[in-house]
């Protein structure tokens, strides 16, 4: 899904760049409310996991490959704004270091893999939470569904961008069907990984899952005197 240099024309790249910059700007301001000095490391770990997850490539049709995105996972764990920042950081590192995703396409990639998956994932997650019973047990499956939905949506947006500013003369309809087909499959993988990770974290450290925090009750401390 990473868009390389020269894949979209200049106007589209610039436009997505502006959107990405605006989104990251808002996220930077909003993230202050999500972060304290203990959760900054958490954001780093989420970024590392997203990074690792994106390294796992599934071979999908026609010799190309797709990979997990992690936007929804990040949004559930650290909140949508910090989640967007995590994914953006991953994309910067990948562009500068791994040559995965073009430097001039960074804006496009932030929009596709960061903004779309994190926000769509989070909206779906909250919407489901609103209708489901408020229990810790529902957090992981809800996150999995959110992750599943976020991936094909991102693929659709990709196809849209390609139709507007693609440099290769390929029929946009073909691209859309192919992308959606693959990414429904990738979405299943995404859902499994997201569900497993969120489930494990909720089980032992619910305080680390932002999306579960309203469900964690404060505990009373017990004081013991000795010789009892």
């Amino acid at each position: 899904m990473h868009v390389p240099d020269g894949f979209l024309d200049a106007p589209t790249s610039v436009a997505t760049g502006v959107v990405a910059a605006a989104a990251v700007g808002v996220a930077l301001r909003r993230a202050r409310t999500e972060l304290d000095d203990r959760t900054a490391p958490m954001a780093g770990l989420v970024a590392a996991f997203v990074f690792a997850a994106q390294m796992i490539n599934f071979p999908v049709g026609a010799g190309t490959s797709g990979h997990l995105m992690g936007g929804a996972l990040a949004a559930v764990l650290v909140g949508p704004w910090t989640g967007l920042l995590c994914v953006s950081v991953v994309l910067v590192v990948q562009a500068l270091f791994m040559a995965d995703g073009g430097i001039t396409a960074l804006g496009t990639n932030v929009v596709l893999i960061g903004v779309v998956t994190a926000l769509v994932g989070y909206v779906v997650f909250r919407a489901l939470q609103a209708v489901l019973p408020h229990r810790l047990g529902t957090v992981a499956p809800t996150a999995a569904v959110a992750a599943f939905v976020s991936v094909p949506v991102a693929a659709a947006v990709f196809s849209l961008l390609f139709a507007i500013g693609g440099t290769a003369p390929v029929d946009a309809g073909k691209v859309l069907t192919a992308m959606l087909g693959w990414h429904v499959l990738i979405g299943i993988g995404e859902a499994v990984v997201t569900g497993l990770v969120v489930g494990a974290v909720v089980a032992v450290r619910p305080d680390l899952v932002r999306g579960a925090r309203p469900l964690v009750a404060a505990r009373e401390l017990e004081i013991r005197t000795v010789a009892a």
Binding site: G6, A10, V89, F97, A99, I103, A168
Partner: protein, 230 residues
């Protein structure tokens, strides 16, 4: 366990390219790639010149060319896509090696492949000659928002922690009679994925706290001597 051990893409060296300040290298890289992308794809000779610039830089940095080429596999899926374009693209057809392909598709494929390849090589050159910690310093200099730099530095640290923990986990599994490579054991691997996440997080948290308890305030101190020549 720190972020400073280099990484798979780094090629240790002391050339002028290695020593150049990171923020300059990043600026040059971004400018260069912009230039490449803006160049019309029919200017074949100019692309040859770009390629020469990149290869020249790699040679000056004394990074073996083969070393860089081997790391260019990340680009393969994309090249495959480019190779398919002439077959699925619209427009007038021509014959190449007995195959009927789209003519604009062919030009598009060339453009995609050459721009992508030069971009990938340029990025790899930066990666090969710059330590991650220096990139962080460079990005800070370039006014990247401090919060992003902070998340990035934690991410680089955690990549080490997660890799190390994964390695330990695999060793532990092997010595208790599990061969993680066989698909039979994938369900177990999947189940330990969540545990790996928390374990890495908590280990990283403890390391972070250990840093704090030795007076860390958010920026690594520059220590003298020794660490230049490892």
């Amino acid at each position: 366990m720190g972020a400073a051990h280099g990484h798979r893409l780094h090629h240790h060296g002391h050339s002028a390219v290695h020593r150049a300040p990171a923020h300059l290298k990043i600026l040059v890289l971004v400018g260069f790639v912009l230039l490449v992308v803006a160049t019309p794809r029919e200017w074949y000779a100019v692309f040859a010149a770009y390629a020469a610039v990149v290869v020249g830089t790699v040679l000056v940095a004394r990074v073996p060319l083969g070393w860089v080429l081997r790391r260019m596999v990340v680009e393969v899926p994309f090249l495959v896509f480019a190779a398919l374009v002439p077959f699925v693209a619209e427009g007038p057809r021509t014959e190449v090696l007995g195959l009927t392909v789209s003519e604009p598709g062919l030009v598009a494929a060339w453009g995609l492949a050459v721009k992508g390849t030069i971009g990938v090589m340029a990025s790899l050159t930066l990666a090969a000659t710059t330590e991650p910690t220096d990139v962080l310093v460079g990005l800070r200099r370039l006014r990247m928002p401090p919060l992003l730099v902070e998340i990035m530095s934690f991410m680089l640290r955690y990549l080490d922690v997660v890799t190390a923990d994964l390695g330990r986990t695999l060793t532990a599994m092997r010595s208790r009679g599990c061969e993680p490579r066989s698909p039979r054991h994938w369900p177990v691997l999947a189940r330990s994925l969540g545990a790996l996440f928390i374990r890495s997080y908590e280990r990283g948290e403890r390391v972070h706290l250990a840093m704090l308890s030795r007076g860390y305030t958010g920026t690594l101190p520059t220590t003298t001597g020794g660490h230049e020549h490892r």
